[in-house]
């Protein structure tokens, strides 16, 4: 599975290279109705880069297919885990949690302009604290509210930045 992942990434890079080359020729080049004296047309640089990328990505894919995947990052993560979290199921649980957190962050980003900064942030913080293991009800409610209001104060009143208002509030 792990090797499949690394091969997929390498393959996607090859696909990207092909896409860049095609897009340069098909979409960009024709729009240059003329080549202004001395200035090259706008599709050359991306085309050259696309070709270089194709060569490199192909080599990379070849290597990914032939050898074991580079798992240094995960090994480092596993090494830093304490004993009781190091079992395969423990690791899997953490990975799932990390993706759940990412999904929360994504939801937060998307909803910020609808719910407004305050509501979206309070929800995000409380949900995240809970997801990452906190059961301290004070932090989950007052803590996240306090942090939200502090950030809002610092950014809008001190720094004069504008934060999303939201449709509701």
């Amino acid at each position: 599975m792990r090797k499949v992942e690394s091969v997929v990434v390498a393959a996607l890079l090859v696909a990207l290279a092909v896409f860049v080359i095609v897009e340069s020729r098909v979409s960009i080049a024709p729009k240059t109705a003329y080549t202004v004296y001395g200035e090259k047309d706008a599709s050359e640089f991306p085309l050259i880069l696309g070709i270089i990328l194709l060569i490199m990505a192909a080599l990379n894919l070849f290597h990914a297919l032939r050898s074991a995947p580079d798992t240094r990052e995960e090994d480092a993560i596993r090494a830093s885990l304490p004993e009781h979290e190091r079992s395969p199921s423990g690791i899997r649980a953490l990975v799932i949690r990390s993706w759940a957190f990412f999904a929360l962050a994504g939801l937060f980003a998307v909803s910020m302009e609808y719910l407004g900064f305050v509501i979206a942030t309070v929800l995000f913080l409380s949900a995240s604290f809970f997801l990452l293991g906190s059961r301290n009800w004070l932090m989950l409610t007052a803590g996240s509210l306090g942090i939200t209001l502090t950030v809002q104060f610092v950014f809008t009143d001190v720094l004069n930045l504008i934060l999303p208002r939201g449709v509701i509030i």
């Binding site: 202004v36 004296y37 001395g38 004070l138 209001l149 004069n160």
Partner: protein, 333 residues
């Protein structure tokens, strides 16, 4: 513990209620002006106007630089924000009139409700101080006629007013030159280093480098204001610029979304009128070499007429860009 929780809950409820109560009197929070280009001297002029508006409104006005697509990105961003008067578009002629004209934008100036205009600045065609190949504008044009494609000039990207105004004049005279495109301060550096021949510059650039420049012409049909760029006008030599009045110069008009409620717009207009009439504001703008536009002449009522007139004038000029590019391409082949 419970008391703390109760207090915090009450406090947050109060904070939520606050805006509801205050919503009666616009504005109750900072106003944002979207400036369509990157940081520059022109940006400072908008900041001066923003400061003046802020004084009159009683709320901070922040001018945010939102560059992209020649200013179109800022315009579209404003149109995507709520029509509540808290977002103003700093409408420079490029995104407001030129972009719709060239088909780069799907909106037009009619999609905005005007406040007041801020300032205008004329461009000037300048050459090196010690240039020996010609003495004045007619001499320069004669040299260009005799050496097609040899002159290299810099006037920014294709669909900017700076480029439009020079290309229109060159087409009228039937002369061809090569444009080199810059986007930042390296333009002036290369001009000073004599990498290319002539440049279309604005007053900020002129002021800081006037000892190395000679003005061939101020590209306008109105004489320059006191602090502006000194120099002859093309019509002094009997040469036609092809554009008159505001059409030849850069200018900006602050506008809001057209569906903004009238009472909100009224507040903004009154505040801006006072701000722009303030002699202090006008003086600051003049020092930068820009001409503050009188709020009496450039009022919301005149917006439509002026923009339409400029659109008509620029429509012919836009064709000159295509012409010049074709001519140069033909030479290079």
């Amino acid at each position: 513990m419970k008391r703390l929780l109760a207090i915090l809950t009450l406090a947050s409820l109060a904070l939520c209620a606050g805006p509801a109560l205050a919503a009666q009197k616009f504005p109750t929070r900072p106003v944002q002006v979207l400036f369509p280009f990157g940081p520059s001297v022109t940006y400072s002029v908008s900041q001066v106007a923003g400061e003046a508006l802020s004084q009159e409104l009683g709320q901070p006005v922040s001018v945010t630089s939102t560059p992209g697509a020649g200013g179109v990105k800022a315009a579209l961003t404003v149109m995507n924000k709520a029509a509540d008067g808290y977002t103003i578009f700093d409408g420079y002629v490029a995104p407001l009139v030129l972009a719709p004209l060239s088909g780069n934008a799907k909106y037009s100036h009619k999609d905005f409700k005007p406040l007041y205009a801020v300032a205008s600045n004329a461009f000037a065609l300048v050459c090196h101080k010690d240039e020996t190949r010609w003495d004045d504008l007619p001499g320069f044009l004669k040299y260009m006629k005799e050496n097609p494609g040899k002159i290299v000039y810099s006037s920014g990207q294709d669909f900017t007013l700076r480029n439009l105004v020079i290309v229109a004049m060159l087409k009228n005279e039937g002369v061809v030159g090569r444009k080199v495109t810059y986007q930042d301060a390296t333009e002036m550096k290369d001009f000073l280093a004599k990498e290319f021949d002539v440049m279309v510059c604005n007053s900020g650039q002129y002021k800081t480098n006037k000892d190395s420049m000679r003005v061939l012409a101020v590209l306008s049909d109105q004489p320059s204001p006191e602090d502006g760029i000194p120099g002859p006008l093309p019509k002094d030599y009997g040469i036609s610029l092809g554009l008159s009045g505001l059409a030849a110069v850069g200018w900006n008009w602050w506008v809001v979304r057209s569906d903004t409620p009238d009472d909100v717009v009224q507040v903004l207009r009154e505040a801006m009128y006072r701000g722009m009439s303030n002699p202090e504001t006008r003086k600051k703008i003049e020092f930068m070499g820009f001409s503050p536009l009188s709020p009496d002449t450039y009022s919301p009522e005149s917006y439509d007429r002026i923009c339409s007139d400029i659109t008509d004038q620029l429509t012919d000029a836009v064709g000159a860009i295509e012409w010049m590019n074709e001519q140069v391409a033909r030479l290079g082949m």
